[in-house]
């Protein structure tokens, strides 16, 4: 059955899309607003601003790919659709970071989990960062609007076995669990969301807001790296971009200069701070790039008696917040439990060991159950997060110290996951740690073994798919890079519209937090720009 491809149809209708890897000469462009990045923040911004009648240019360093290209193969998807082929790492290489790099950003490859920003997180932002206008009640209509726009609703299809094991284990232990809301319409329940949705069911920016913006006349530049903002007299005067080659890794000589009335950074929580750092943007209180959070993730694998087939079916549909609720938000680090998709490359890379031991685990692939714990960072003095900096070549790199406070949470998470997996019937449990060779055969054994594990970088596999912070919001310019509307404290015509705004981690998969906050801030920006344009 042929699946219609809204991107190829749009291109045929005459969308203004320029692939800079084919550019033959420099370009100079103008618009009302230039938006850097086409992920959750950039997509929503582009749709709202074009609807308000503003001219918009979107700048994306990834390529424009669509359902016709999405063949559900890891070997193609990671190099095509992820930052650094899915191998982005922190400065000391101890944390693997999965981040999208394509039109649609991470929304093109995420696993569709949608949660409103938790009330505890918003309350902490109010009390610690003075963000009194971002309360749960004030944001509720914005979340509702984006839920409607993106088809976000609870997943009513029965969970796949990998997720049902999370549910059954939680019930056995008497801990709370819930059904995840997903941004899908007419989902085929295939399980390959992380490689780009082949059926356009996932309501990513790629098939929703970006087509809407392009239909309304926005212009999209792909394979284009936003290099730096030209800053003069407290304002941004231009955005200077560089063309990338077809692989999207190396610079070409062509330059693109864009002048706009207003500039929006939505390049993600590594990319947006990096542009401001390269631009030497004013940062009198040294907030830029600081307080970058990851939801550091530790992983527990288990072997079940029956087949699990964790590659099949919607990837994350059941969660448990029980361990987020055991202590106050600013207490010992809490964590959210989810059940990730299991595919050969990602699973093989994640598993500990090499040679016969690793192969033996891989041969249990169809019986493998996996749980991940997302640690809620940024709510405690001993959890200040990481720092985005620049390499000599100007490319960004995140340093993120794994402190004893984080490891304390990681150990409780590995214990909790092992107990839950045994409760769900696991034959053996393998916390992903280089010193766990044969796994544990019982909860009793696991409890004793995990208590003794040296939790240190590299020995313990730590990954992240949620980068947040680095351009944090605060009511006081001494505490943040932007105000609560995402307006830069020191540059008049610059806003940040992405996860880098968050002054802490979210404590849940962040996409809906970005959608809702951006819908609000882009709407406020559209009003402000309309006012400024009105005749005096």
């Amino acid at each position: 059955m042929a699946i219609s491809d809204p991107i190829r149809q749009g291109l045929a209708r005459g969308w203004k899309v320029t692939d800079a890897s084919r550019l033959e000469r420099d370009l100079a462009l103008e618009a009302d607003v230039v938006v850097v990045g086409t992920g959750a923040g950039g997509g929503v911004t582009a749709e709202i601003l074009t609807r308000a009648g503003l001219t918009v240019i979107l700048v994306e360093e990834g390529a424009l790919r669509s359902s016709s290209d999405f063949r559900m193969r890891e070997g193609e998807a990671y190099p095509e659709l992820y930052q650094e082929s899915g191998a982005r790492k922190t400065l000391d290489k101890s944390i693997n970071i999965l981040q999208g790099r394509a039109v649609g950003g991470s929304t093109t490859v995420n696993w569709t989990s949608s949660f409103r920003t938790p009330g505890a997180t918003l309350a902490y932002w109010q009390s610690e960062f003075g963000l009194t206008d971002l309360g749960a009640d004030a944001l509720a209509p914005w979340f509702a609007r984006m839920e409607q726009r993106l088809g976000i609703s609870p997943w009513t299809v029965p969970p796949n076995e990998n997720n049902d094991l999370l549910r059954r284990g939680a019930e056995k232990l008497g801990i709370s669990w819930g059904v995840i809301q997903r941004n899908v319409r007419g989902c085929w329940n295939l399980g390959y969301c992380g490689m780009g949705c082949p059926t356009n069911a996932k309501q990513s920016m790629l098939v929703t807001t970006i087509p809407a913006a392009l239909d309304a006349g926005a212009r999209l530049l792909t394979r284009t790296r936003a290099d730096r903002l030209r800053i003069a007299a407290g304002r941004v005067a231009a955005l200077e971009c560089r063309a990338l080659d077809a692989a999207g890794t190396d610079l070409r000589p062509q330059r693109i200069t864009i002048r706009a009335r207003h500039y929006v950074l939505a390049a993600g929580a590594i990319g947006s701070p990096a542009i401001l750092l390269r631009s030497r943007a004013p940062d009198p209180y040294r907030n830029l790039g600081a307080r970058t959070f990851l939801h550091p993730v530790v992983v527990s694998s288990a072997v079940m008696a029956e087949r699990v087939d964790g590659y099949k079916g919607a990837p994350q549909t059941v969660y448990s917040d029980h361990f987020l609720e055991q202590a106050p938000v600013d207490g010992p680090m809490g964590f959210k439990l989810e059940a990730p998709p299991i595919h050969p490359v990602l699973y093989g890379m994640t598993l500990q060991g090499f040679g016969a031991g690793h192969t033996a685990l891989m041969h249990e692939f169809a019986h493998a159950h996996a749980l991940i714990a997302l640690l809620r960072d940024g709510f405690h003095p001993e959890s200040p997060g990481g720092m985005v900096g620049l390499r000599d070549d100007g490319s960004p790199v995140l340093s993120y110290p794994l402190t004893s406070f984080v490891w304390d949470g990681a150990r409780r998470a590995l214990l909790a996951m092992a107990e839950l997996q045994f409760a769900a019937g696991a034959k053996r449990v393998f916390p992903v740690h280089e010193q766990v060779a044969d796994g544990y055969a019982s909860w009793r054994e696991a409890r004793a073994g995990i208590a003794q594990l040296p939790l240190v970088p590299f020995k313990t596999r730590v990954v992240s798919a949620h980068v947040m912070g680095g351009c944090g919001m605060a009511a006081d310019p001494r505490r943040g890079v932007t105000d609560s509307r995402g307006r830069h404290w020191h540059l008049d015509n610059l806003s940040v519209h992405d996860g880098s705004l968050f002054p802490t981690s979210i404590g849940a998969n962040p996409q809906l937090s970005i959608y809702g906050l951006t819908a609000r801030n882009a709407s406020l920006l559209a009003e402000a720009l309309a006012r400024r344009r009105a005749p005096a």
């Binding site: 082929s85 050969p344 890379m349 040679g355 891989m362």
Partner: protein, 170 residues
């Protein structure tokens, strides 16, 4: 990681390198060649030797094995070629350490050239780096692990023993 930190940290972390005076120029050459493309022929030899040990029990036996190893080497090379320049440079430094005889002996502990090294010797090298106290060597191990494992399990040939049917038809 800043340019050449991999090498600098290697020098700092292993006094053993102190005598190898020709290394910096060679490092620069290796890193620059890596910045330009995928694996060099010397790097390919290293990966071809390490892959069967990293993937012990996973690769087919007999004549099919050489073909599988070659496909893993190609996959690693393609993955490296697709990395951003800064990452390619760091990987270039890692492979330079493994390519050159003095550092192969002193840092990896592999006494013979890679094609002649025994399975036991290569496994001991991987295990030593994996369990090392030095972040540099641990990160080197993980880079090799992730590149080689990904290159193999991306291939449909690796899926039958996993009972993984591959992606569905759409």
């Amino acid at each position: 990681m800043r340019r050449r930190t991999f090498l600098k940290a290697g020098v700092a972390g292993t006094v053993l390198l102190a005598g190898a005076a020709r290394i910096p120029a060679a490092a620069a050459r290796a890193a620059d060649s890596m910045a330009a493309r995928g694996l060099s022929s010397a790097d390919r030899v290293v990966v071809a030797a390490i892959a069967p040990v990293m993937l012990a029990g996973a690769l087919p036996a007999g004549e099919a094995k050489a073909k599988a190893v070659a496909s893993v080497v190609d996959g690693v090379s393609q993955a490296v070629a697709g990395m951003p320049p800064a990452t390619r440079r760091e990987l270039g430094e890692l492979f330079m350490l493994l390519d050159l005889a003095p550092t192969r002996r002193l840092v990896a502990g592999v006494s013979r050239p890679w094609p002649e090294a025994s399975v036991g010797e290569i496994a001991a090298f991987l295990q030593a780096w994996r369990m090392s106290r030095l972040a540099l060597l641990q990160s080197g191990y993980h880079a090799l692990h992730d590149l080689i494992v990904a290159a193999w399990y991306a291939q449909p040939e690796s899926w039958p023993p996993l009972a993984y049917p591959g992606p569905p038809e759409v």
